[in-house]
Every structure is written in C-alpha cells, then in structure tokens.
Amino acid sequence: MAEAVAKKREARAKIRDAGGHEVAMLKVQGLKRYFDVSAPWLNRMIERQPKQILRAVDGIDFEIGQGETFGLVGESGCGKSTVARLIVGLYGPTEGSIELEGRDIAGLSRQQMAPMRRRLQMIFQDPYASLNPRWRVRDIIAEPIRAFDLAKGQAAIDARVGDLLETVKLNARDGEKYPHEFSGGQRQRISIARALASEPEFLVCDEPTSALDVSVQAQILNLMKDLQREFGLTYLFISHNLAVVYHISDRVGVMYLGKLVEVAPAKTLFTTPRHPYTRLLLDTIPDLDMSGRERTPVAGEVPNPITPPPGCTFHPRCPFANERCRAEIPMPRPLSDGAIVACHGIEEGRIPDGPMLTLPARPEGLA
C-alpha cells in the first residue's frame, strides 16, 4: 500500500512545459454557457415572446494549480454548479476553453474525451441521489474500474473495491450492501470511493457536504483533506458555505450571476475582501463567537439571470454603485497581492478598504 502511494506521488510530480513553468491542472478561459429557456416555438409565436436566454456562466477565467484546492462560492443560481458540469463534460460550453494540463477538453465528444475522463472525476451534492438505488455498493464502485479497464478479472476488481472502501474508512464487506442501508455521510464516502476508483488527479466537488449534518460534514472534510495529501489530488470545491470553503481552499473564487467577481488566496479573500459582493457574503456568516456582532441584513435578492441588470450585475444591491457601474461591465483586474477583482469602485479606489463592510442603513428587504 505504502509503495503504491509513493509511486503515485512520483507520478504526480508536477508537469512542466518547455520553459520549465508548471502547467496548471486546470485552466478555464472565457468560459460561457447559455441555456435556451424559451417557451416552445408555437407558444412563442402566438404570444409574441422573444427567445429567452439564461446566461448561467457568462465568461469566466481561472486557473487551478496542481495539488491545489480551488473554492468556488456563491449563492444559488450564480452558475457555480454549471461550471462544475462544464468541466467534467456534462454540458458543452457555449464558448471558451477548458484546459486540463494544457489540453483543451471543451466540447470534446464522448469518445475524444475518454482518455481524459479517468483523470477527472466528480463528487455530487446529494448522497441520496448520487448512488443508483438498485445497485450494490461494490458494483457502484466497480463501475469506473470496469469502464476504464483498470483491473483484470473479478478477483482483482473485488480487491480494488475493498481497498477503496477502506480508503474512505468504510468496511470492505460493506460492498455487499445496497445504498439505502447507509447513512448520508457513509453514502458520501461511497461516492468519494467511486470517484477515486479511476485514480483521478482532479476532483470536481459540487457541494459535497451541503446535505450533511455538521458533525458528518467535519468527517467528510477531514477525509477529503487526508485523501488530497495521500494521493496528491487537485480539488475544485464548490459550496455556498463560506466557512467550509475557507477551511478547505487554498484559493477562492466568488461567483455572482454567472461571473467571477473576485478571485484571491483564501486568507486574503477572507481578511481583506475587496468586491462589495464578497463583503456582503462575509457579513452574512453567522457569528459563532458570540461577539455580539449582528449580521447585517443585506438589501435585495439575486436578480433574475435571464434579465440581468446592465453594467455590473451587482449594482442594484451595491451601496457604492454609480453611473459607470450601471452602464459598463467591469473587467477582472489583478491587484498587487494576487487578488483579481472585477469592480469599477475598487479599480478607481473609491471603495474604502476594510475587513468588513458596513453598509449604509437601508430598510431591509427593499431592493
């Protein structure tokens, strides 16, 4: 076992390009995904409605280094789950590129994608829906092994499945059981075992702990950290829970209405948040230290992504918005400390620095 791990680590020695620069595990450029959510053609003609396009992901760029954990955070409907599904190829992108260790995998067909799939796996949110209820656990975990032809013969496959179950701290005998015999946390472990079965290098984790109780969440987060160390994994970790993202991530990207508004190292992001939306999100974290700080209830709600506001999409909720924000779309710009922020106010230096943001008093709930 230990030998195998050492070998794996060696194999994961960072890949470098011709110039000796490290190649990013994942590089996403100008990624867009639009969905046509129009009514059926006939209805549209009769009711004279235009086509309705949902811009789930509207031009985002980011890089994930080898062995890094990149957290993607945002509220529901911001497009973070769509990003996950674009990367693993469940959706084809409308535009843009997705490079896995320098190879563009955006919009590849199933056959073309085949050799890359083994290296790229996904963990899902709902432990009750992510395992086929009619399959035994051993068959669920063996599916990728069989699909990628990673073990020859039933005995070898069984042994590998047993190994994987033990890797995620379950019993090898649990393979005989069906998913419904397990608790939510145990199912998520099974899900992780399946993702690990193809010996991937990169795991896309879409809200892997959101459906779990906190004590179980802690077990899963710890397990994921252990596995990362053991196998040198790279994670894209998607969550709406800022504290969880802070805990697990090296770098964090904040999404709002299909765009990345801020990308920064986790520590920087949480100590000196720049974008007003990031500050808003940080303000909404419940205060467990009982310091007496009241959550600042933030005005408004996420607008409808089919008809996003013009200019900076955050401007209707932003206390610092001015004419430029309402008209011009801000571009992501790098700052000195490695953060990348898409905000006119930050660029112009008219938004004061500060760990937290004290929003001007507004009647709560009025957009």
Binding site: E75, S215, Y246, M290, E364
Partner: protein, 346 residues
Amino acid sequence: MPLLEVENLVVEFPTRRGTLTAVNDISLHIDEGEVLGVVGESGAGKSMTGAAIIGLLEPPGRVASGRILLEGERIDNLPYEKMRRIRGKRIGAIFQDPLTSLNPLYSVGRQLVETIQTHTDLSPTQARARAIELLTEVGIPAPERRVDQYPHQFSGGMRQRVVIALALCVNPRLIIADEPTTALDVSIQAQIIALLKRLCREHGTAVMLVTHDMGVIAETADRVAVMYAGRIAEIGPVREVIKNAKHPYTHGLMGSIPSIGHDSERLEQIPGSMPRLTDIPTGCAFNPRCPHAFDKCRTVRPDLLPIEDSWTACWLYDGEEGRNKEASKKLVAETKADAVLEGNNG
C-alpha cells in the same frame, strides 16, 4: 408561569417491527417573548418535538405520554377542532419550505384574509387592509400590488416573508419555526432572521426555533436546547451552551463547525453517526461516540443535572463516580486539545 411547558414528552411511532421512540422524555419551557433554540442533527427528534407541540405529528406518530401546557392549559389531548383553533390563534407555525406552506392556487392576499377572518371579526375590507399592513411589516415591497399575486410569483425569500406574515397575522403568543432559513441563500437567511427577531420583539411573541444551524441559534436564541437521539443533551442560556459547552456532544458539535479565522488543518470530529431510532444504545445514547464514556454511561441513562447556568445530561458531572465537578470540567476542557479523533463511519 411560563408560556409553554413541555413535561416528560414522549413521541412514539408504532411500526410493525416495534415501537420507535422519536422523542424520549423531554421537558422544557418557553417564557413570554423568549426565543428558545432547539438544535440537533437529523434524527435528533427536534422537528418531532415542534410538531408534537402544534399537534401536527404525522400519523402514526403520537404523543405517548407527558404533557404540553400552553399558558397553563393542557393542549396535547385536545380534539382536532379545538387544536386547530389554537394553532391559528395562539400558536403560529413557520416551516422550512415556504412553498408547501402556501396554497399555490390562491393569491397571497386571499390566504392572509382567510386566516385573519377565521380568527377575528374583521370585515373583508378590514381584513384586506390588515393583510397589506402585514406584508408591509414583513418587508415586501409594493404590498398593494403584491397582495393579489400568487405564491409562484414570489422569490424564495419573499415567500418565507409571506409565511411569516401568515404566522403573525392573528398575533399568536408562540411561533414554532422549523428550519425557517434552511432553504434560503445565506444573504436572504440573514434578512429573514433579522425580520423574525424584530417582529417577535415588537409583538412580544415567543419563538421555538428548530434548526440544525448553530449559527442561526447563536444570533437568534436566548436559550438553547441541544438534542441528541430523542433527548435533550444540554439546555441553557445560548452563550453558556455555545461558549462553554458541558456535554461532550455539544462540545464535539461546536468543534466540527468550520469557522473563518480559525485556522486548523483538521476539524474536530465526532466519530460515528447518530444512531438510528431502531438501535439507540442503552445508557447515555451518546456513549459509543463519546471520548469520556465510562461504565455507568453504558448502562444508566443520565438525566439533566444543573451545572453552573445550564443543565446537562452527562454522568461526568455526577459526583458519585468519584469525578467531582472540577475534574469533569477539566476533562471537557481537554476535549478541545485531543479532539482530533479518527472517525470510522460517517
């Protein structure tokens, strides 16, 4: 006299494989205008407790023993019709999913007016005016227009506001709020909590806030009851329970919550998982997962004992076993240090 008193409540589910005890002998009280948080993980029995109080236990669940008193009057054995009247007038309810609490076929205004008229003598015009007033109060913009809209035309946060308006419309003395913010985005969550807090303060309404989210409890509740496997593990002032947890379960729970600014490679982890109702361990239900369990924990069920300002059901605090309170305090304090426990099953 407290507003609500629950005495030795037992909620059972008869199944063909035997009777399951979802809530096992819990007692608590809520004072006028007080917010009591009931926190626990799934399967702890917290929602059952709430449902039992408002008389909405789903069959075959039933209150097997114990008493529930609202302003000194027993309400656990009332006939359906009487309980329904109490539910509308004196106890309000807010549930997790605002969509299921609203009838999709009726406009928001009609639902409000109907509820108001059922419990008061207001005329239709007056009731409608009151409905608009309520919508204003819960922060819904343009209430005169919104009152005639249907639930699906509201966003999740706005719907939850409507549900709160519905719960408040006849000025109940007590609101049972079961995971009122769980289905909402974080930024909306804060809005709803602030709203709930403000309204209850203004109306002097007491709240029983049932949730799994310690964060929500921390900033909303006055007192908190931590539930585990159908029993109260610890109950006391929220600050005392959160900052100075006595029960090893509360302690582990607090440690397992990741928080910003606390850098640690690993989170504190309680091994194992909440037992299923079918096989709750004897003695203290937490004993198989507890790092401090000793013989007595495995055989005798602990009752709540007063320790400092709160009550805890844990033998560590019982003098007889030769572990006096000082020693046990030290033990629990150590939990934090050596809490990096290897977990087996999630």
